[in-house]
Symmetry: C2
Subunit: 128 residues, 2 copies
Amino acid sequence: MVLKQMTKYGKEILALIEASHDHLTAEQVFHALRERCPGVALATVYNNLNRLWQEERIRKISVEGMPDRYDRIRRHDHVVCKGCGRLLDVDLGDLTAQLERAAGRPILAYDLKLIDLCQACREKEKER
Amino acid sequence: MVLKQMTKYGKEILALIEASHDHLTAEQVFHALRERCPGVALATVYNNLNRLWQEERIRKISVEGMPDRYDRIRRHDHVVCKGCGRLLDVDLGDLTAQLERAAGRPILAYDLKLIDLCQACREKEKER
DNA sequence: TAATGAAATTAGAATCATTCTAAAATGGTG
DNA sequence: CACCATTTTAGAATGATTCTAATTTCATTA
């Protein structure tokens, strides 16, 4: 895929996502962007997020029952809390070769989520 | 978690999912169930899918941009086509211990998707 | 500089999956 | 049977995202 020149908002949004260590939803990106570009439309945010995603400049993370979240592309994995969906970064290194061997077939990439229960959710669990 | 007795539709839906080697959406479960139970409501399907999921009797798989799909619980992983979202089963065995070691923390479970491009999508890719 | 055309942006409607609501049906248990 | 909890139901509501068609922007060419 040939990467096209980025647009004004494309650049802004990419910068926002790269700078953030959270995992922003489209809505959160929209709010953050508004501070710098008051007039911008929500559709523009979705347009650009989709474009950036297709160009593989950002990652999209989906967890059941929550809005998609966007993340910088640099290789890393995630720990998702089973209770509240809280997402943390973790890096297990590049497992591609290993997984290909185990699967017996070549892959383009993989998506690995570790599931745990965060401190807060563990407390709540106990109460019951 | 103590498993409760299953309800009439709960059983039907669980059986449907266990029997199917596809990865059914709620809508597909609804259609299939209708053949055996013509009057059943879509809400009932969602109710039961959610209950079964909470009781960990079925799995829920979410891939960005598509409706959630449901799967039997037996341990296995998935290969997702990057182009069309087609989902195949693959079993890499239980990597829990290995992943815990790599992550340096205990986990409850994990969710691993291998990404590839299916034959059909590879053809299409070429055409461009 | 004016004209052209492609791509980006916009506002709002539309869609789709899913959840919610409140009422009705069902199913044990005493 | 009477009771109460649970399940089911139909349809409305919600929330995230996409679509649409008009408008704006911007680079390129005449």
